[in-house]
Amino acid sequence: MINKVVANADEAIKDITDNSTILFGGFGLCGIPENCINALVRKGTKGITAISNNAGVDDFGLGLLLNTKQIKKMIASYVGENAEFERQMLSGELEVDLIPQGTLATRCLAAGYGMPAIFTPAGVGTEIAEGKETRNFNGKEYLMEMAFDAPFAIVKAWKGDSAGNLIFRSTARNFNPLMAMAGKITIAEVEELVPLGELNPDYIHTPGIYVHRIFKGENYEKRIEQRTVKAKV
């Protein structure tokens, strides 16, 4: 089997240069690649175009790269949890492209499936349809949306092996397997790096062919954004 293992986050991201486009897995703070985000802060990579469903919060997740002004452009579906983000966007420091969540997911899927574009009804008749090609199928309008073409994807999985096969846990799956498929170079950080053969082939979510570098992440904080509980009965 091909060995994809690298030592750590710093080694995994070492060839990400300034002005790169990077797909980041995660939904809110759930399933985000904490180690690689911290490594990008350390490396000081600038001018990043970040494609991610959300933009983190002020002091965690992609918010860390926003605070250091390392992100030039953000492509996301929902950014409501980050005050610094809103400030940079309204002042024009940060370029922002908001796109529907399903469109974001399916543009990744298309890239991973080798399809150049998708047709979706999301956004028809709204300002996000402006300038986009539309087509009518069976009496309904659809927007043509292009597959992502990104040099890097950074995802976080629960378990992985040296061949790059990945399994995600619970809703920390979200965009991770999609973004893993969409990167030209995909970096996976995992909570557990297990020996070859330990993962049941039937239960692998992302085949290793989509993953180029894998390492065991350290010190996961796994911060909860909205801790909601009910009373014990």
Binding site: F27, V79, Q226, R227
Partner: protein, 218 residues
């Protein structure tokens, strides 16, 4: 006049046995608390859950298990987890029977605006544009007027649209209103609310036929 729980209680009556239901953030999330016993539904959360359960008890929270509002939740027996593309795939393919979401404005032809106030607030559309473009049945849960006292039920939306010609029903603290081919039709009024009060709080025309019943929420 209804409070938020009252609006959620009334909407829960629209939930029928066997439905797959997507609940948006805010009042729609509360609907889950009022689905009557004996009505079996599965709640879909667009970050990748079917069969979402209630909030966990303290100490049971799992950072890897959240809903689309980023709140900690639980899974019911028989629940399933999937990725975001499959989640919106089942939404786009009209497998989800009912979508309940909030709005800043709704127009009389069923247009909805809920993602942006130009120059002031830009949070993004999240999954709302995908949901409203494909859902079979969309119910809006919202306050009848905004904080400035202006009607949110309009002839035409002023804010950037989320979707066109898609909302089927609106439940507010004052009324239940259906979106028909001819515009808003008043179906029910909230306890203690007069038809005149509803007309005064609605910027668009209201179709009013016969006696308007008071809604029952219990």
């Amino acid at each position: 006049m209804l409070d938020k729980n009252g609006i959620a209680k009334r909407i829960a009556k629209e939930v029928k046995d066997g439905m797959y239901v997507n609940l948006g953030i805010g009042i729609p999330t509360l609907v889950a608390n009022f689905i009557p016993a004996g009505i079996n539904v599965e709640l879909q959360s667009e970050n990748g859950i079917l069969g979402m359960g209630p909030f966990p008890t303290e100490g049971e929270e799992d950072a890897d298990l959240i809903n689309a509002g980023k709140q900690t939740v639980t899974l019911l027996p028989g629940a399933v987890i999937f990725d975001s593309a499959m989640s919106f795939g089942m939404i786009r393919a009209c497998k989800v029977d009912l979508t309940i979401l909030g709005a800043m404005e709704v127009s009389e032809n069923g247009d909805i605006a809920n993602w942006k106030i130009p120059g002031k607030m830009v949070k993004g559309m999240g999954g709302a544009m995908d949901l409203v473009a494909s859902a079979k049945n969309i119910i809006v849960a919202m306050q009848h007027v905004n904080k400035a006292g202006e009607s949110k039920l309009l002839k035409k939306c002023d804010l950037p649209l989320t979707g066109v010609n898609c909302v089927k029903k609106i439940v507010t603290e004052l009324a239940v209103i259906e979106v028909t081919d001819k515009g808003f039709k008043l179906l029910e009024r909230a306890p203690g609310v007069t038809v005149e009060h509803i007309i005064k709080s609605t910027d668009a025309n209201l179709i009013i036929e016969g006696e308007i019943p008071e809604m029952s929420i219990d």
